[in-house]
Amino acid sequence: MIRKSPMKQENRQTISGADFEEYFQPQNLEKALEIKAEYSDQIEVAAGTTDLLVANYEQLHQIKNWLDLDKIDELRKIEILENELHIGAMVTHLQLMKSDLIKEKLAVLAAAAEDVGSPQIRSRGTIGGNICTSSPAGDLLAPLLSYEASFKLQKAGAERIVRAEDFFTGPKRNLMEADELLTEIIIPLTENEREGAWVKVGRRKALVISTLTLSVVLEFEADKIIEAGIALGSVAPTPIRLWEVGELMLGSSLTELDYKQLGQEVKARINPIDDLRGTREYREDVAADVMVRALNEIERKRG
């Protein structure tokens, strides 16, 4: 039996004249792209809504048009295609941390997802939302830079692939155009051994906005490092990849590296934001420390 319960209007928060016009909940991507093409910046895209509802706290009624991606199953896939891992934009943090494929191939991304917010946030928040919000403190962003991820941006009838490193242009700013949606995150895989570490420094275990995150992904051929993806979050207006520090490590085995020195190299290259969540000097020193910690962890994992 279905019980009908009418909405009690009198209990609603005051609706100051404004009201919503359209709520679209398309079942497939094609339809979503058509709607986005038509409404462009006059529509709010809703994924897991953990950022959207907080940003619009107490003024949700002011959002005129909604494009809800929740029902588009094709955006929730994690799959390998031609030696690349494809992650749909609507994949949640919870899915990432539970996925065997992600844990095996992209352990640092899985670890970062496990550190996001709380169970209540991880079950809803998506990788696409994390990327599109483009907060310098977004936990998944440094790992995506380490893994050299690219993002697929689609609009009706066209698509382009943008490197993660080029995508972020400033705090809460990115290259996405008003008629585009982020649909996929693409990460190249390798046959070589990959080992990595994730460090998040914050004030409290759960629900912290990161004061600093570090993601280190090393690729080995025998014992020699042939790729080194060092990336940090919350230390600059965008997440950053430290290419020069990575280059210093190439061709060496772990035992040949001076971890302390590499920590200083990291410290020398960051430009932390001085804000309430941690002063500049504090962040610089922490950055050097966590680099050493990360390298020790990788050494331990390789046994």
Binding site: M1, I2, P6, L53, L60, W66, G117, Q120, R124, K205
Partner: protein
Amino acid sequence: MQITFTVNGEERELEVTPYTRLLDLLREDLGLTGVKEGCGKGECGACTVIMNGELTASCLVPAPQADQAEILTVEGLGTRDDLHPIQESFVEAGAVQCGYCIPGMILAGKRLLDENPQPTEKEVRYGLSGNICRCTGYAKIIDAVMMAADKLAVEGSDSND
């Protein structure tokens, strides 16, 4: 717009707007006041429900996204006369002070024990990490979840006999 969802085992059809949050829908339209509003911003866990099997902050869910969902609130867990073992444990452990955080804590505890029936204390802390107790009764709340794990283990073995 119209949505259909199942709350505590009962199918419901409701008229909603996108700016109605699942929290408002449950509390005001359905009178399920065990779902509390604390911060309204995903930070405190007072509004926690289990939606499609996962812990969810109902203050961050626009009502249309609850369409077709299966939702459990604390009211669906047990009644006053027939408490769920987790609820019993909260009473017995003396874990309830003002009580505001408790429905969310109980649901977080239930979700954890469903997946991991014998959690360590650390795992309990991680499972409850989205729920804040302003009375800071964490030690007893964690005791209560550990106690519930034992109760459920005994019940489980009983029913297998």
